[in-house]
Amino acid sequence: MTRKKVTLAYIANDAARKATFKKRRKGLMKKVSELSTLCGIEACAIVYSPYQAEPEVWPSTLGARRAIARFKNMSEMDQSKRMVNQQGFIRQRIVKAEEQLKRQLRENREKEICQVMYRALVGEPLQGLTLVDLNDLGWMLEKTGKEIEERIKKLKNMVPGSEQAAPAEPKVDKGSEEENGEAAPKNNAALNDVVAVEAMQNQPWYMEFLKPRNESNTMNLSKNEPRPSYPYGNPPPPWSNFFFP
């Protein structure tokens, strides 16, 4: 049986509607029965039909009456707490779907920004990005930076005293790593030396902006000049997480 997408609307065609009705009613009864057996619970289903006077009932007329009696014996509040009609139910479905949509959009955005970050690492220019993009990019850099930091700490703890410890199972073999090493982070010419990070200065990011602009616009990788490297987590990052509330 092919799975066709069904439009959630009343079927105008009489024959099609009748066929669908019969098929779905049967399916519903069967599934209610399964639910009851699998979970060992009591249930009943009543389906009225425009084609016959008597409704179709599961498990049986008697069984349904029993379930209804049990239902009516409960307090009004217990009865209505989880009672729902079409309107209420469809609204619930809409709310749930909207939440899933929001989550999916956020996930997709994160993936996209990640891509931007990796492309920028190999030299693709940052020009053309909007402030929102830059903000998100900063957030992603922050987040990944923290992960890297943690992982580095972990690895260093595992092999105490040796900072030059052999990397644990890099996926890529050494040959291609060297090759890619050149292609990688183009904007860091000092990469060959694998310099340890300079002492972090607790400078807020905007201080650079307020300083007199005497440095050139090009990348200054001289080790003499203390770089205002961004301290992780302290002070609080300028990129507020406004896109990901």
Partner: protein, 189 residues
């Protein structure tokens, strides 16, 4: 965050589920599924339906169209005839309700369609990422990188952070300047 792929459709033995947690989860999902199917039946065929389900903790869940209580009354009365109120007021009420339901279903369909689009987009992004991971070692998940690689990566990322900061400052400054000019313009007018 990667989602663990669900096991998908598996054949289930139709017998009481032994494990308690499993049972609770199954109950929740299937009950919800039944209501969904009942709701679709009502929408597609325009019939009246009622379902009552008791949980193991003796809580009761019910779904009914038009209302659970109406279905119960009708069933117990054994007349099996739909309420014969053909007054204009009643008909108007019914008309209102169907329009309302139609609109709700349309909104639901729209949201579900959007969701599907975004899901497919997400899958495409995943495929692209996997493909580029094969060629670029630095795109691999952090957990798979070695110490040297991590330190390299960290340095490059800090470079980029500085560039991003610079560019952000520049853009913000431009924006502020534009705003100031705009307001000055307004005042001078």
């Amino acid at each position: 965050m990667g989602k663990k792929p669900s096991l998908g459709r598996q054949k289930i033995v139709i017998a009481r589920i032994p494990k308690k947690n499993h049972l609770q989860v199954t109950f929740s999902k299937r009950r919800s599924g039944r209501f969904k199917k009942a709701s679709e039946l009502c929408t597609l065929s325009g019939v009246d339906v009622g379902i009552i389900v008791f949980s193991l903790a003796s809580k009761v869940f019910s779904f009914g169209h038009p209302e659970v209580e109406l279905i119960i009354d009708r069933f117990l009365a054994r007349h099996n005839l739909p309420p014969l109120d053909t007054s204009a007021h009643h008909q108007l009420f019914e008309a209102h309700r169907s329009v309302n339901l139609r609109e709700l279903n349309m909104i639901l369909t729209q949201v579900l369609d959007e969701l599907e689009v975004e899901r497919k987009h997400g899958e495409r992004l995943d495929v692209m990422r996997k493909a580029s991971q094969r060629q670029c070692w630095w795109e691999a998940p952090v957990d798979e990188l070695g110490l040297c690689e991590l330190e390299q990566l960290r340095t490059s990322m800090e470079e980029m952070k500085m560039n991003v900061e610079k560019l952000t400052s520049k853009l913000m400054a431009t924006l502020l300047l534009q705003m100031v000019c705009h307001f000055q313009g307004l005042i001078l007018d």
